[in-house]
């Protein structure tokens, strides 16, 4: 079941189309990646989900029914551009933001205590925000985002500005939130964290959906029939054995072994290839190369941009 869907969202600004019939479907209890290059329309979509701006066309659904303005209390939003009142004390500010999300003061106080202990930031309670480092402020803001235990969490570039230790802490926290049943929309350029965390993604580019689905499936679908062979000795015999049916994509040397990446011709499987080269070389490893999300991102976006610019010419 989808906790949240947006269907055919269109948003126009005076001189450009920010979103052109974009749809996303976020299954309950999963982490959903909203990907796309700068200026693709991600922030606009997130703002529409948060009711900060209204779409020109399209509909939003929440928990199976139409989304209404009051549903924002079920959302926790961590915008890309972080910010807190600089002159306000940390504790007071956290209480204020929690109350704006509809929590009672007492409830907010109890939960805040829990989180401040967990993140080891109790000592900051009476400090003004401007006295904290940027990373510390981000931690405070993360706590205020998740405090009211919303059903839907939206993180826009959550790891930017964090050191590796805190990034790890945050990743674990996000996983834990998922286990507790939260649904998370996660927007980032860091494809490594997408592979680590996301179940599904939608990739938008130039205001349109370019790619969507399960991360694993997407990776499988974008396999290019490339294999990596590790071997010792000369590579000439291997290439001869492949007999021109295949194309060398890459080659490099490891500490002991040499490696060659080969793209198999159509109809040639990994088994076929292995059979062909096995008699001619001392093979130490053989792997199918699965593309990373990073490669897929670059490939599809560049392909679209090129085809578009061709169309224009």
């Amino acid at each position: 079941m989808f906790l949240f869907s947006a269907r055919n969202i269109v948003k126009r600004y005076s001189n450009h189309l920010a979103l052109d019939r974009v749809s996303i479907h976020v299954p309950e209890g999963t982490i959903f990646g909203l990907l796309g290059p700068n200026g693709a329309g991600k922030t606009t979509l997130l703002r529409i989900i948060n009711q900060i701006t209204a779409p020109d066309e399209g509909e939003l659904f929440f928990a199976g029914r139409k989304f209404h303005a009051g549903d924002v209390v079920h959302i926790g939003y961590l915008p890309e551009e972080r910010g807190l009142y600089k002159k306000m004390k940390v504790g007071e500010q956290a209480l204020y933001l929690a109350q704006l999300k509809g929590m009672s003061r007492q409830e907010a106080m109890n939960k805040l205590k829990h989180w401040f202990v967990k993140f080891e930031i109790q000592a900051w309670w009476n400090k003004k925000v401007e006295e904290l480092s940027k990373g510390m402020q981000q931690k405070v803001q993360f706590v205020t985002t998740i405090l009211h235990e919303p059903k839907l969490l939206i993180f826009d570039e959550p790891f930017s500005g964090f050191d590796p230790i805190n990034t790890n802490l945050l990743k674990n926290e996000i996983r834990e939130l998922k286990l507790k049943g939260s649904t998370i929309i996660f927007s980032t350029h860091d494809m490594g964290s997408v592979e680590e965390l996301c179940d599904n993604i939608t990739l938008i580019n130039k205001s349109r959906t370019l790619l969507e689905g399960d991360v694993h499936e997407i990776k499988m679908n974008h396999k290019l029939n490339v294999f990596e062979i590790g071997f010792r000795g000369d590579q000439e015999p291997i290439l001869n054995a492949l007999n021109g049916n295949c194309q060398v994509v890459d080659q490099y040397e490891g500490e002991q072994d040499r490696f060659i990446k080969i793209r198999a011709g159509s109809g040639i499987t990994g088994n076929d290839m292995l059979k062909m080269v096995l008699p001619h070389a001392s093979i130490t490893s053989f792997n199918e190369v699965i593309p990373t999300m990073n490669e897929i991102f670059i490939n599809v976006v560049e392909a679209q941009n090129q085809s578009k610019s061709h169309n224009h010419e």
Binding site: R47, I52, A54, V73, G83, Y85, Q99
Partner: protein, 462 residues
């Protein structure tokens, strides 16, 4: 909705706790008193520096005249800050050449043929420092008077007749409505009250309007605004801020009121020896015919202390005859109305720009009607029922300031209602307009905004 309540209380509490609020509350009345009194006081300070003016006279041929033949000798009386020295046997050129050698601040040149001049004549005045308006008037008036009586003397009209030609008139104002009861005229206290009220509203609108603008700008530049408007609507956020800061203004006003009453009660205790013993008959001179009755002028010579006490008790007594609750009520209404009207526009400016320096271009059109209001107010406390005052106290952009100057005098109910209703309609309108600009502006960064852009924002959908 209680989310607005949360925003209002945050705005209120964070500001009321600031040291600057406490300081302003304590020294505010002093500052405003200074602001009103200071310009006049400074003018008198400057005037105390004595100016030495040389007067040079010459006959019809341009030759210096001896002592005994001088027409204009002692024609211009000395004032406390101007001393005139009548030079004899000196040509104008001589004294002008001695610029370095003498200490005279100015040289007045009076040719004797001035006596026979017609309706208009010019007199040369050479200065080191441009003469003050007061000095110019004093010199011109003295010569005019002299020439006037001189011309009459030439026509053989006796000096005592000439003396009796002139009568100085001041109006002794008595409120017709309260006639024939022995009511004292309260026009001056009313004027003072109107002036202070109008001025205070002007200052409040600027001060708290600017606070709204800075508050919005702070939320925008610190980027917290995006988090907050994912919980509440931009309109709620904007109104919460405007209301919260407005309450701060009211708190400050009430605090000042209490402080002022407290201080004047205290002053009365200290300055006034026996408050009950002083009656109005003593305060207002019995012989009204010879007195400028428009000012409560004590005739008792028992020193300054008693004089001040008289003044104070006179003013307090007069205040008692004015509908002070109407004045305070009107102040609160016009402050809130004017403040919401301008405050919402200030909020829109804060939302439209990225930093404080960019606010200037949009501040300008808002400042104009406010300053216009101030000028008309100053004019209308002199003539509270003149056309100018009436119209500007109904036009909503200036009415909060101008109406305050008219309120102590009885304003027709129709005008009051029209002014109030227009103000309410207008602030609803500006709030609507501001909300549209605000909503788009707070999420817009790094863009130099133009008026055309703002116009587009107003018509953006939701």
């Amino acid at each position: 909705m209680n989310k607005i309540g949360l925003i209002v209380s945050r705005e209120y509490i964070t500001r009321v706790r600031k040291k600057s609020f406490l300081i302003m509350t304590l020294i505010g009345p002093v500052l405003f008193a200074a602001l009103i009194v200071l310009p006049g006081w400074l003018a008198t300070i400057e005037d105390r520096e004595v100016q030495e003016i040389a007067v040079v006279e010459c006959d019809v041929n341009g030759q210096p005249v001896p002592d005994s033949l001088q027409f204009f000798r002692d024609v211009i009386p000395n004032k406390e800050n101007i001393a005139f020295t009548y030079l004899t046997g000196m040509k104008l050129q001589d004294i002008l050449k001695a610029y370095e050698a003498t200490d005279y601040d100015g040289v007045l040149f009076l040719p004797q043929n001035l006596i026979s001049s017609g309706r208009e004549a010019y007199v040369e005045f050479y200065y080191r420092k441009p003469p003050s308006m007061g000095m110019e008037v004093h010199i011109a008036r003295s010569i005019e008077d002299f020439l006037f009586s001189n011309k009459l003397i030439v026509k053989n009209i006796p000096a005592d007749v000439i003396q009796s030609l002139e009568t100085k008139i001041s109006l002794n104002r008595i409120n017709w409505k309260s006639w024939p009861a022995q009511h004292e005229d309260t026009t001056d206290v009313k004027r003072g009250l109107g002036y202070v009220g109008g001025f205070l509203i002007y200052i409040f609108i600027f001060m708290f309007g600017a606070q709204v603008m800075r508050g919005v700008l702070e939320e925008k530049t610190s980027r917290i605004v995006e988090v907050i408007i994912s919980s509440v609507s931009p309109f709620q956020l904007m109104m919460g801020k405007i209301i919260g800061i407005g309450l701060i203004g009211l708190t400050q006003f009430v605090a000042w009121l209490i402080l002022t009453i407290g201080i004047s009660a205290f002053a009365q205790q200290v300055i006034l020896p026996k408050p009950a013993a002083i009656s109005m008959e003593q305060v207002v001179p019995a012989d009204i015919m010879n007195q400028d009755a428009s000012v409560v002028q004590p005739v008792i010579n028992n020193g300054n202390k008693q004089e001040a006490a008289m003044m104070l008790s006179g003013i307090i007594k007069q205040l008692g005859q004015i509908n002070i609750f109407l004045v305070i009520g009107a102040f609160i209404f016009y402050f809130l109305g004017g403040y919401i009207l301008y405050g919402s526009l200030f909020a829109a400016i804060g939302a439209a720009v990225d930093n404080e320096t960019d606010t200037q271009q949009f501040m300008f059109p808002i400042t104009i009607p406010l300053i216009l209001g101030l000028f008309v107010m100053i004019n209308s406390f002199i003539n509270p029922s003149g056309k100018l005052a009436v119209w500007f106290s109904i036009i909503p952009l200036t009415s909060p300031i101008v109406m305050m100057a008219r309120i102590p005098f009885e304003v027709p109910v129709g005008q009051l209602l029209a002014s109030g209703a227009l103000l309410i309609i207008t602030f609803l309108g500006t709030t609507w307009l501001a909300a549209k600009i605000y909503r788009t502006g707070i999420l817009m960064y790094g863009k130099k905004v133009t008026y055309g852009e703002l116009w587009k924002w107003i018509w953006y959908k939701g």
